[in-house]
């Protein structure tokens, strides 16, 4: 395993691989998928763990600059000291994948993993202000910057979000930070069908409650309210008035935190084995997709982002689900990617959602070629 200490080391490694025409696997802390297990066995692994510093943090200007190998907990600790946060609430699914290791910020950005707060604050890609990376020609490239508004040239920083390291080795990332809300509480609606859950989501998202989390699992709906005390009280009152036929429970403090911790670690799936899919979909189609999945498979379904994201855990013994999930997703104009599986072949094929349209496929492949002409990085295609 290669352990570069700075960007010069990385450039040297890439140039050497280019000369030898061999491949590289980029690795953070292995908190997600063990890519090494999936890809070319003979390629070298480049570990980003030594590039792990927070380089600059300006709370007053709402941004933080960190090296790609910096751990999420280190960044969160730094922000916490100034009562700030990463507002896309990065997901940490390492435990649910039985890899009890700490995600790096590079891994989170490369896989565009955003949590429940995305429903209000936008996703990881919306919070990446700038990146530095080494492309497949060994060139050091910067894009974006440290400011929230920027239309100076093409935005290659957002392009790197969700590219799975296929367009270059991220070395440094600038992320937008946000002040933490003064107060947060959870509203729980117990024992609801998925259709009722969607009804609740549609109602609250269609009103100015500024819901910062809207999830559904094990037949319960959870909504998160964030803001100043006075805002929480007013909004809660309005929700109660308009939904007086629903019985609700208010959850605060540690219990409230546990709920969102579960939502963003998928810990409610711990101990359940099987293939885990993340499906991005229009909320209006999520109920029907859910019932179709259930009619095909023995599955555990949960929702996030007010129905904009469905997690389907297909229980073991249903190994041939990938083709069907793909087909169902297409039917409902949804996008599916596989987060976890025992089937390495499926994982390799579906961890990155690929476009179906031929022209889009061609554009994607051409972009990959421009950044990595010799195909030395993780290849999603």
């Amino acid at each position: 395993m290669l352990h570069p200490r700075d960007t010069n080391d990385i450039q040297e490694i890439v140039l050497e691989k280019l000369a030898k025409n061999s491949a590289l696997l980029i690795q953070g802390n292995q908190s997600q998928i063990d890519f090494a297990r999936l890809d070319q066995q003979n390629s070298d692994i480049i570990s980003m763990c030594d590039l792990n510093q927070v380089k600059l943090y300006e709370p007053g200007a709402l941004y933080i600059v960190a090296q790609a190998g910096a751990s999420l907990s280190e960044i969160e600790k730094t922000l916490d000291a100034h009562n700030q946060m990463l507002a896309f609430e990065p997901m940490n699914i390492s435990q649910s994948l039985s890899h009890d290791s700490e995600p790096t910020i590079g891994g989170i950005v490369a896989t565009n993993l955003s949590g429940s707060r995305r429903v209000l604050m936008g996703g990881c890609r919306d919070h990446v202000l700038g990146v530095e990376f080494i492309n497949g020609a060994g060139e050091f490239i910067t894009s974006g910057g440290r400011v929230m508004k920027n239309v100076t040239g093409l935005d290659l920083a957002k392009l790197q979000c969700g590219a799975y390291g296929s367009l270059g080795i991220l070395t440094q990332i600038v992320l937008k930070t946000m002040p933490k809300p003064e107060v947060e509480i959870t509203i729980k609606f117990e024992n609801r069908s998925i259709e009722k859950a969607i009804e609740i989501f549609t109602f609250v998202m269609g009103n100015s409650f500024e819901i910062s989390g809207a999830v559904y699992w094990n037949n319960d709906v959870y909504l998160r309210l964030s803001g100043f005390e006075i805002q929480i009280q007013n909004r809660l009152e309005r929700i109660k008035n308009k939904m007086n036929n629903f019985s609700i429970t208010i959850i605060e403090n540690e219990l409230h935190q546990d709920i969102w911790q579960s939502a963003n670690t998928l810990s409610y799936l711990n101990g359940l084995d099987g293939d885990l899919w993340q499906i991005a979909i229009k909320p209006s189609a999520v109920a029907i997709l859910s019932s179709e999945i259930k009619s095909h498979f023995n599955a555990n379904i949960s929702l996030d982002l007010a129905g904009g994201r469905l997690f389907a855990l297909i229980h073991q013994g249903e190994d041939n689900n990938a083709h069907d999930i793909k087909a169902l997703s297409e039917k409902y104009q949804a996008t599916a990617r596989l987060l976890r599986s025992n089937n390495a072949q499926n994982l390799k094929q579906y961890r990155f959602a690929k476009p179906e349209n031929e022209s889009l496929k061609k554009i994607n492949q051409s972009i990959k070629k421009q950044f990595d002409p010799m195909n030395i990085f993780n290849s999603p295609f």
């Binding site: 007053g60 200007a61 709402l62 941004y63 565009n112 995305r118 936008g122 996703g123 890609r125 919306d126 060139e139 490239i141 910067t142 894009s143 910057g145 440290r146 400011v147 929230m148 508004k149 239309v151 100076t152 040239g153 093409l154 935005d155 290659l156 957002k158 392009l159 969700g162 590219a163 946000m178 002040p179 933490k180 003064e182 549609t202 998202m205 269609g206 009103n207 100015s208 006075i230 805002q231 007013n234 993340q278 991005a280 909320p283 209006s284 904009g308 994201r309 996008t335 959602a353 690929k354 476009p355 349209n357 022209s359 889009l360 496929k361 554009i363 051409s366 972009i367 421009q370 950044f371």
Partner: protein, 483 residues
């Protein structure tokens, strides 16, 4: 330094003008083609009026298929295409060249679908920004990006320049509010590109397209995110007698964890002109902050009290919260008409550099010093909450020497923004205006990487080719018709 250059017209193209017009007319119908010099002159410039050049022809497209046909013909003849929405670009984004065809989205004005369950609206790209919000207001929603030119500017241009506006401090800019687009590619294919909202299949192409200044394809339709209207909103005006202290106040408010919807800044020269124009009741001071918060009355009062407490520590000369809806509207009318009002009393160059908020006081000081050094007045009116500066350099456009001086001062101010960790453009785009400064913010290999992305979408370099990248940097590609 000299005036901004544009490439010389390709005589080969001009000699084929009749043939091209005939092909376009045959494909689209002659009524959609403008080619007489008396008419093409209406398209000679956008809002960067110092630079003008009528195009060879203009195509007024009525649907995506029209755009596709026009693009196919232009690609076949290797003619540069200039996408144009309402022509409100301040950076020369839709400035034509003599040998180009302008592809206009001005007739694509329909609302196609309102979907309140999925919180989106699908529109044709030539619809004005304000009409999008108006279309969903009755349902209790609005479209968040609100450029000051929102009465005139259209969605295709907003996407091209990743437009923001006063309220994007809270709600983000166009890229954060765009769900999908229909784009005509260089091959004349009409492509649906989605969805950056949750997860997209393949690379996040929308993030490239948004802010690409019409260099990757032509957007004909867009699906936009709509948000629920707040119960209410109210601004407070806070005046200081020192620009740097006002800058400090902005940083303090942000750091305190308050996140207003908008924090706008205006200096004395600007206040005076706007006051004459809009009678908005602005206090006379060196630096005015307009800060807006949202919620019901009780919530608004609570937040305004917190803001007042922070602002008071810095000894403002005046602090006045709006008391009514009418007063709020008037305050915003003044702010949004600032550019127009300034244009009535003086020629100006409007800059768009953006800096980290913590660097606002230093940058304001730099601008003041540079203004003195060049002997040209600079008025400041901008989005302080996100560091997006809009210094207006006042000059006499009929005096060539003074124009050159003003452009040089503009370049110096933008470089000062870059030096403190900022960028050349926050929301107006690079266009031609900042094109030649790109090498100051980016290394050549960075620009090369960006151009390689353009190569994918536009192998012959015909979509808005002389913009964004310095002419010398893009020369090989433009002259060879791609790499």
């Amino acid at each position: 330094m000299s005036f901004i250059q544009m490439p010389l017209a390709d005589q080969r193209i001009l000699s084929h003008k009749e043939e091209v017009i005939f092909a376009l007319a045959e494909a689209l119908g002659i009524e959609k083609i403008i080619h007489h010099p008396q008419e093409t002159i209406a398209y000679e410039c956008d809002a960067l009026t110092a630079y003008r050049c009528p195009p060879m022809a203009v195509v007024l497209c009525e649907n995506s298929e029209d755009v596709a046909k026009a693009v196919k013909i232009c690609y076949q003849f290797s003619i540069p295409m200039i996408p144009r929405g309402a022509g409100t670009s301040l950076s020369g984004g839709s400035l034509p060249t003599q040998d180009s065809v302008v592809i206009s989205t001005a007739r694509l004005t329909d609302v196609l679908e309102i979907d309140t369950v999925n919180r989106s609206i699908k529109v044709q790209s030539g619809i004005t920004n304000i009409k999008v919000s108006e279309a969903v207001n009755a349902h209790g929603f609005f479209y968040a990006p609100d450029p000051s030119s929102q009465l005139a500017c259209v969605i295709s241009g907003n996407i091209a320049m990743n437009s923001g506006g006063a309220h994007c401090l809270k709600y983000g800019v166009t890229t954060n509010n765009l769900i999908s687009v229909k784009m005509v590619t260089y091959e004349g294919e009409i492509l649906e590109i989605d969805s950056a909202l949750v997860d997209c299949a393949g690379y996040d192409l929308l993030s490239l397209i948004c802010g690409s200044e019409g260099q990757l394809g032509i957007i004909t339709e867009a699906t936009l995110k709509i948000l629920t209207l707040p119960e209410g909103a109210r601004p407070i005006m806070i005046g200081y007698d020192d620009a740097e202290i006002a800058g400090q106040c902005v940083a303090d408010i942000i750091q305190a964890g308050l996140l207003p919807v908008a924090i706008e800044y205006m200096d004395r020269p600007c206040i005076e002109v706007v006051e004459d124009f809009a009678k908005a009741g602005y206090p006379q001071c060196e630096a005015l902050l307009i800060i807006e918060v949202e919620g019901n009355d009780e919530e608004i009062d609570f937040q305004l009290e917190k803001i007042k407490a922070i602002a008071s520590k810095l000894k403002p000369v005046e602090m006045r919260a709006s008391k009514s809806k009418e007063e709020s509207l008037l305050i915003w009318k003044g702010r949004k008409s600032a550019f127009g009002a300034m244009g009535q009393v003086n020629d100006y160059i409007c800059l768009d550099g953006t800096v980290p908020i913590s660097a606002l006081p230093k940058t304001l000081k730099n601008i003041g010093e540079l203004s003195k050094q060049y002997g040209l007045q600079v008025a400041n009116v901008f989005h302080a909450g996100d560091g997006n500066m809009h210094p207006l350099i006042l000059y006499n456009a009929n005096d060539e020497k003074e124009q050159l001086k003003a452009e040089e001062l503009g370049a110096e101010i933008l470089l000062a923004c870059v030096e403190v960790g900022g960028c050349l453009s926050g929301e107006h785009g690079v266009g031609i205006e900042k094109r030649d400064l790109m090498t100051k913010q980016f290394a050549l290999q960075d620009l090369e990487m960006q151009m390689k992305v353009k190569d994918v979408f536009d192998p012959k370099w015909l979509f808005n080719p002389a913009k964004v990248f310095p002419l010398e940097v893009s020369k090989k590609r433009r002259l060879k018709g791609g790499l």
